[in-house]
């Protein structure tokens, strides 16, 4: 059955509704999936990769390139754009024909499935990993009538690591064969991956052609958002700058900046009282979105606890102060809790109830607790700083 099946998702009964307002249009453009035709702020990287691949295709040789950078810096998008441009040049007759293949380490169940994927995309054949490896070996290492160059994008390279590293070795070894005509573009996150996890013979085959994608600076992030908002007046300039500066300070991840802007449009929509046609997303909306995405909920969680749970947190802090350690046994905390109850004139809980409370706080990870089997000797640690707890509890009692 699976052999003949064609993978599809059932179609819609009714077509999608197209965006009606400016904000909806902006949201559609800001979605991460709406990759623009040319990526802003990645011109240099684009040129480098383009000339590398182009020269290999023209010469009819093979080679490897290692591309690294933190997530969300446009690595995969740039490589895809390069191949798009090359395909265009190929269609125009400026370049000989080449074939583009893509594999992603995260989309494979195990590293050796990479062979199956490559073979499938190359010849539409289906085979077991071992057989596919043999076939590929034969294809790339022996002289054949094949004329076209193959460009292979190996995304999430670190997932292709095996103990013997045979998958990585093969992928980097094939280009060095004179008849292979294979260009490998390997993409991963860490800069020093070849030195860290690869054996000498693998990293030497990878070669020294490397490229690092730096995280976006706030100017670049701003430019990315502005370029997507071209000829659409939905954002205040300061609002975009605020989002860009915040994201650049934390990670420089373009996805994050786009998500924040998208969330800000939603907030604007819900906060605006009337359905006016032209509402601008202002800094306060972006600020609300930033608060939502970056703030830690722990203080709010502590404040929304029941009275006895708060008291238990206070008992933990008191016990830590008493012993000077960052860890306490449940029996000690119980005694401490009882005495705090007496101070505050509350009804003291039974041990079972307190244990329940402790495991509740442990399940939302305000506390780190051991397994409940240890009972009275269960060790309890805080997952929040003591200052945060005191701050959260003090503010409340002051009101």
């Amino acid at each position: 059955v699976a052999e003949t099946a064609t993978p599809t998702i059932p179609g819609r009964c009714k077509p999608l509704s197209s965006p009606t307002s400016i904000l909806e249009e902006a949201r559609a453009r800001l979605h991460v999936s709406a990759v623009p035709d040319s990526l802003p702020c990645r011109d240099k990287e684009f040129d480098d990769i383009y000339s590398f691949v182009e020269s290999k295709i023209l010469d009819g040789t093979g080679g490897c390139m290692y591309i690294s950078g933190v997530p969300g810096t446009g690595k995969t998008a740039t490589v895809r754009e390069v191949t798009r441009a090359l395909q265009q040049a190929c269609d125009d007759g400026e370049l000989p024909y080449f074939k583009y293949i893509e594999i992603n380490g995260m989309k494979l169940t195990e590293p050796r499935q990479a062979y199956v994927q490559i073979l499938k995309q190359l010849t539409k054949q289906k085979a077991t990993p071992d057989h596919a490896a043999d076939l590929l070996n034969k294809q790339f290492t022996t002289r054949g009538p094949r004329k076209e160059t193959v460009v292979l994008l190996a995304d999430e390279l670190d997932l292709l690591w095996t103990r013997k590293q045979d998958v990585m070795y093969n992928i980097f070894d094939w280009p060095s064969h004179p008849h292979a005509r294979l260009v490998v573009l390997a993409v991963a996150n860490t800069m020093d991956l070849p030195e860290r996890i690869m054996m000498k013979r693998v990293s030497s085959r990878l070669g020294l052609t490397r490229m690092t994608f730096q995280p976006y600076t706030f100017r670049q992030l701003q430019e990315i958002v502005v370029s997507r908002m071209k000829s659409l007046k939905a954002f205040d300039d300061d609002a975009i700058q605020l989002a860009a500066r915040k994201v650049a300070a934390v990670s420089g991840d373009a996805r994050r900046a786009l998500d924040i802007c998208r969330r800000a449009t939603e907030i604007t929509e819900t906060m605006s009282p009337s359905k006016k046609a032209n509402i601008l997303v202002s800094t306060c909306h972006v600020d609300a979105a930033l608060q939502e995405m970056f703030s830690s909920p722990k203080i709010v969680a502590i404040r929304s606890c029941a009275i006895q749970e708060k008291l238990f947190l206070r008992a933990i802090v008191a016990e830590f102060h008493r012993t000077g350690l960052e860890e306490a046994e449940f029996a000690k905390l119980y005694s401490q809790h009882i005495s705090l109850c007496r101070f505050d004139d509350l009804q003291p809980p039974s041990t079972s109830e307190l244990a329940g409370m402790c495991s509740r706080l442990g399940s939302i990870r305000l506390l780190l607790v051991e397994h409940g089997r240890n009972d009275l000797f269960m060790r309890v640690r805080l997952n929040v700083s003591q200052d945060d707890i005191l701050y959260a509890l003090k503010e409340k009692s002051g009101v």
Partner: protein, 439 residues
């Protein structure tokens, strides 16, 4: 018990009470349904903003084909699944969305690895590699098939709503392959999906790998119950009141009036306040109401404040003390001996020989009780270990002889004193011995 049965028989036999019994029976069924969480509650308290956000999010996936991902975070029993169910129920009333949205439910406790989860997804989506309820192909093939299917989808294909219950367990799968792929689909121009994760861990985002985290949209909807005692009482009323269209209007009126009276009763309020102080979430309220609701029968047609007090007592009993009521006097003596040992030697570990000599000292010098042989005492001692009132420090496979294994007492001194107060026919000597360790 027998009397009660007799009475109930009588009442069923007599014809006139049959009519009265009917609404009561229905009431019991309805309330039990509500309290045991089989049906959605009559009203959602709070969460207006969160609900609207969630509704907008799923609706946009349904109508404009926008791909989204979000996490619902909140402590256990705060109503995460209830909220999602409620929102989906409301959206399904809309014909356009009902016809167009596919709904996939996954649970981290059932789909313990990606292989099972993938099969479940293809089964629920009824893709072409499923026949009946069987999914064909190996793990790798299923993944490729699913990815191809999602990739071949475009804006013209049906949007899919993925609801991942116990999301934090999915983050423990190997390489987080499933999460990466779901989020990746949500972030690229493929079939429109909406990925909703439900979890109780506040730090769940830190569990994600950095590339998975980058693909997640960081939309987090936090559900904290910020209810006051007044709201809590209102919830209490809403859980126990009957709807107006319930069969017998007269009965409904008297019942609801009675519930209103209950809610202003000082005893009931005291019980509610105590529960509120300990645990604010709604599920604990439901558990508290369980006992009183189950008490209602034809001999006891109305809820009484005393029922709530009883229910509270059942919930708050200390389980260890209750267990201590069931042990024999000899075992109790051993527990007291162990308590003295831990107190004298300040939490040091002890073994059976030490406990035995302590027991002998007491039994021979101070009491008129029978002094048992060592074998009998050892038997009682092993019983205590089996009850996990005492814990051995070394693993079960150790080669140390039974009498010399190091042990810890898992009973708090206050629990022992508490249990001795209520122990039936406890000898006075034992009580006195428990109070002071000097013999």
């Amino acid at each position: 018990m027998k009397q009660k049965q007799m009475k109930s028989k009588k009442s069923t036999v007599s014809g006139d009470s049959l009519m009265e019994q009917l609404p009561l029976q229905k009431t019991c069924d309805l309330l039990r349904h509500r309290v045991s969480q089989l049906s959605t509650p009559p009203q959602i308290h709070g969460y207006d903003q969160e609900r609207r956000q969630l509704l907008d999010l799923i609706r946009r996936t349904g109508t404009t084909g926008e791909s989204n991902s979000a996490l619902l975070i909140g402590p256990r029993g705060c109503g995460k699944s209830m909220l999602v169910e409620n929102v989906v129920e409301e959206l399904m009333l809309d014909k356009e969305i009902r016809d167009n949205l596919l709904h996939v439910r996954l649970n981290g406790l059932l789909q313990t690895d990606d292989k099972i989860a993938l099969k479940e997804i293809t089964r629920q989506l009824q893709l072409e590699n499923t026949v009946g309820t069987k999914v064909f192909g190996s793990f790798a093939e299923t993944l490729q098939f699913l990815l191809d299917a999602l990739k071949s989808g475009s804006h013209s294909s049906k949007p899919i709503l993925f609801v991942l219950d116990e999301f934090d367990l999915f983050a423990h799968h190997k390489n987080q392959t499933l999460l990466y792929n779901l989020f990746d689909v949500a972030q690229s121009a493929q079939a429109p999906v909406c990925v909703l994760g439900l979890t109780c861990r506040l730090d769940v985002v830190e569990l994600l790998e950095k590339r998975v985290k980058s693909r997640f949209s960081h939309r987090q909807i936090h559900l904290f119950n910020n209810i006051t005692l007044g709201d809590y009482t209102q919830l209490f009323i809403s859980y126990l009141s009957l709807p107006d269209h319930f069969t017998d209007t007269k009965f409904v009126k008297t019942w609801n009036k009675h519930i209103q009276e209950l809610a202003s009763d000082q005893t009931v309020l005291g019980v509610l306040r105590r529960q509120f102080e300990f645990n604010k979430d709604v599920r604990s309220l439901q558990q508290l109401l369980m006992y009183p609701v189950c008490c209602v029968n034809e001999n006891h047609p109305l809820l009484l404040p005393a029922d709530f007090v009883d229910g509270m007592k059942i919930q708050t009993t200390d389980t260890k003390s209750a267990m201590l009521h069931g042990v024999s006097i000899l075992e109790l003596c051993l527990i007291i001996a162990m308590k003295h040992l831990t107190e004298i030697y300040d939490g040091e570990l002890f073994n059976f020989e030490m406990v035995y000599s302590e027991y002998r000292k007491f039994a021979q010098k101070r009491s008129s009780m029978q002094v048992y042989e060592k074998a009998v005492v050892l038997k009682a001692f092993e019983h205590l270990i089996a009850l996990e009132l005492v814990k051995t420090m070394d693993g079960s496979g150790s080669r140390v002889q039974k009498e010399y294994r190091l042990l810890l007492l898992l009973v708090h001194p206050s629990q022992i004193l508490d249990a001795l107060q209520k122990y039936p026919n406890c000898p006075t000597e034992v009580k006195q011995w428990a109070q002071c360790s000097v013999i």
